[in-house]
């Protein structure tokens, strides 16, 4: 028998009992919808997390952090100078596997003022490498240069939202050349960094306005009731960054900030970028070897890599996906059992018809194919309806979820969910089809 004819008969059979068929499909519809929504949600979260990771420097970025030296060296710990510019020089010259080294000294909660407008933010003293290692872009003007660092100039590069907050009445103003005061000391703005946001926030903005623009507008209108921005948000931090040359930072703010009132040479952050990710471990070993010398053999440093973060993201996504698939799978399975049940009832109803078909020359195989195709068609239509339902649900979820984690429907997720639906449809038809095809034609003709 022709497969098209079997499809036709299947469709006819389904259309003959529309409501019953719909109820049968419901399990598949819900299963596909939940499977697909789950895929889209985890994919959205995964994409959001990966982008956040990439925005903060990616896996190739690592940091040297402070660590308590091991027990046998603790009495000698004072010998180590800690993380200083000496480390930076040593790494630049002695660690070829490292392609960028970025030292930072920072100061939290600093008064940044222009005329009578004051805001409080963190200020970073950094080198030009800060730009590249943190994946920043210069929107206007320039980044602080090596000569700024060498000549200890009082210049500053600001994040895009800082300009907006200091010049609230003109949100699009590019304040190049303006002078702002950092803890009272005047600095000239030489550059403004580009606005940074996640892809889904970008998509969201394509239709409306960004959160920070909204925020500014609301403030301008005198509305004080607003959600406080999350200062731990990578994108918020990137847009509120204030960078001055590290030498200027030291000269202006660190010469007397040591524990005993002496100069504080210690770096607050020491990041480096691995030239070749395949040599990640080797690079860490090289850095360790170099810093061992500069720290006089005291192991008071460790590494903070994004690999762990990355692994955590992947692991948590895998876990969500597994548990989600399990739940959606169970609902698909229940749907499949529903199909089997209805198909069994349906062939009992049609025993005589099956007998007639056998009598006029249908082989067992023809009957088998007919029943399997019919339940496959139920799975197929249920799958399509499930996809539509999922599309509707996701429209809603996009509105509800945070911008950077908006659910993303991928083609592969659609393909997987849909083929699951058809597969379950076919599978659940196998047993009824076998039963129908092994009916004795004489008995079947006599039935009813």
């Amino acid at each position: 028998m022709n497969i098209w004819f079997a499809l036709l008969i299947g469709l006819k059979e389904i259309l003959a009992h529309k409501f019953r068929s719909f109820l049968t499909m419901l399990g598949i519809i819900l299963g596909v919808a939940s499977l697909l929504s789950m895929f889209a949600l985890t994919e959205g979260t995964a994409q959001g997390m990966r982008q956040t990771l990439a925005a903060s420097g990616g896996v190739e970025r690592a940091e040297v952090n402070n660590k308590d030296p091991s027990e046998e060296l603790q009495d000698l710990a004072f010998l180590s100078p800690g993380r200083t510019m000496i480390d930076v020089e040593a790494l630049r010259k002695g660690a070829p596997l490292v392609d960028l080294v970025s030292p930072e000294m920072d100061m939290g909660n600093v008064a940044i003022s222009h005329l009578n407008k004051t805001i409080r933010l963190q200020v970073d003293g950094a080198c030009p490498e800060f730009l590249e290692i943190g994946k920043f872009e210069v929107a206007a003007g320039r980044m602080i240069s090596q000569s700024d660092v060498d000549r200890v100039t009082r210049v500053v590069v600001i994040g895009s939202d800082v300009a907006g907050e200091l010049w609230p009445e003109s949100p699009d103003y590019v304040p190049l050349g303006e002078v702002i005061r950092i803890n009272g000391i005047p600095y000239q703005i030489v550059g403004v960094l580009g606005f940074s946001e996640s892809d889904s926030a970008k998509r969201k903005r394509a239709a409306g306005v960004s959160a920070s623009q909204d925020e500014r507008r609301a403030r301008r209108m005198g509305k004080t009731k607003k959600k406080p921005a999350n200062r731990y948000d990578t994108y918020w931090q990137k847009n509120h960054v204030i960078v001055i040359p590290i030498s200027t930072m030291f000269n202006d703010f660190r010469t007397g900030s040591g524990a005993d009132g002496s100069a504080n040479f210690k770096l607050d952050r020491l990041s480096f970028r691995v030239a070749d990710l395949t040599l990640f471990e080797e690079t860490l070993n090289q850095v360790r070897a170099v810093l061992d010398r500069t720290h006089r053999g005291i192991d008071d440093f460790g590494f903070d890599t994004r690999e762990e973060w990355f692994d955590n993201i992947e692991a948590s996504i895998r876990a969500t996906r597994t548990s989600g698939s399990l739940i959606a799978g169970i609902s698909l399975l229940v749907g499949g059992i529903g199909i089997t049940n209805i198909m069994l009832a349906s062939i009992t109803e049609r025993i005589r018809e099956i007998g007639v078909r056998r009598a006029i020359g249908a082989r067992q195989r023809d009957i088998f194919i007919q029943i399997v195709v019919e339940s496959g068609v139920i799975g197929f239509i249920g799958g399509i309806m499930g996809l539509l339902a999922a599309a509707g649900v996701l429209q809603l979820l996009v509105q509800l979820s945070p911008a950077e984690n908006a659910p993303v429907m991928t083609l592969s997720a659609v393909a997987i969910s849909f083929s699951f639906a058809v597969g379950i449809g076919v599978l659940s038809g196998l047993y009824p089809a076998w039963k129908a095809s092994t009916l004795d034609p004489i008995e079947a003709l006599r039935y009813g």
Binding site: M1, N2, F5, K12, E13, A16, R352, E353, G355, V356, R357, R358, A359, I360, G361, A362, R363, Q364, R365, D366, P441, I442, L445
Partner: protein, 246 residues
């Protein structure tokens, strides 16, 4: 060689520990173009015989050759192919598919024969024309009368151009007048050279066929299978008698 040859056919069923012989050594041959009746009371084995002749079942022992093919040991698929190409069935309760219209019902055997759609349609139309139902071609069986349904069933039985048509109590569900019309149709088929076998327990019908085989207790009743003379008029149709079709 005869179209159908049976030699010492036995069919036994096992019910619990007992073996019941539905057919107990049947030897019979049917020539091409014969028009015959198989009669007998219920339980005489006539249905079992028809199932064997119709390739719906295989005998327990003995040989059954239809159109040169030994079907007594044939596989399921071979039987299906025989039913499809060499045998047509007409049932007491019509057994049309209620969801399909007349045309599709008649097309059905050709679907399983793998006949392409266009040819299928043409041949179905020809068969429907033969039973004079062209005006109801797109009606479903539920919209037809009993006699019309049986005509559709006959069209379906002959559409694959089979060697033999089996009719199981074809007039059993019809009033006597319609029954006569259906019988006339079978006569026409037989007259055009097809072998027609009617299974019935109605002697009024059987009496008018050229050959009768009477079954009793799984055997053919000896002596009764005397051919009615060839001069017995097949036409015109006899007026309906009382008790016919009961």
């Amino acid at each position: 060689m005869a179209l159908v040859e049976l030699h010492d056919i036995r069919k036994t069923y096992r019910v619990g520990d007992q073996e019941i012989a539905a057919l107990d050594g049947i030897t019979l041959s049917i020539e091409a173009g014969e028009f015959l009746a198989i009669i007998g009371p219920s339980g005489s084995g006539k249905s079992t015989l028809m199932h064997l002749l119709g390739c719906l079942d295989t005998p327990t022992s003995g040989s059954l050759v239809i159109d040169g093919v030994d079907v007594s040991r044939a596989s399921n698929n071979e039987l299906a192919a025989m039913r499809n190409s060499k045998i047509g069935f007409v049932f007491q309760s019509f057994n049309l598919l209620p969801k399909f219209d007349v045309l599709r019902n008649v097309e059905l055997p050709m679907v399983y024969a793998g006949v392409p759609g266009k040819v299928r349609r043409e041949r179905a139309m020809a068969a429907i024309e033969r039973v004079d139902l062209m005006h109801r071609i797109h009606n479903t069986p539920l919209q037809l009368s009993g006699g019309q349904c049986q005509r559709v069933a006959i069209a379906r039985a002959i559409v694959n151009n089979p060697k033999i048509v089996f009719a199981d109590e074809p007039t059993g569900n019809l009033d006597s007048h319609t029954g006569e019309a259906i019988l006339a149709l079978f006569r026409e088929l037989a007259a055009s050279g097809r072998t027609v076998v009617i299974v019935t327990h109605d002697n009024n019908i059987a009496a008018r066929l050229p050959r009768r085989i009477e079954m009793r207790d799984g055997r053919i009743r000896v002596g009764v299978e005397a051919a009615v003379s060839d001069t017995t008029p097949l036409l015109p149709i006899m007026p309906p008698r009382e008790g016919a079709g009961a």
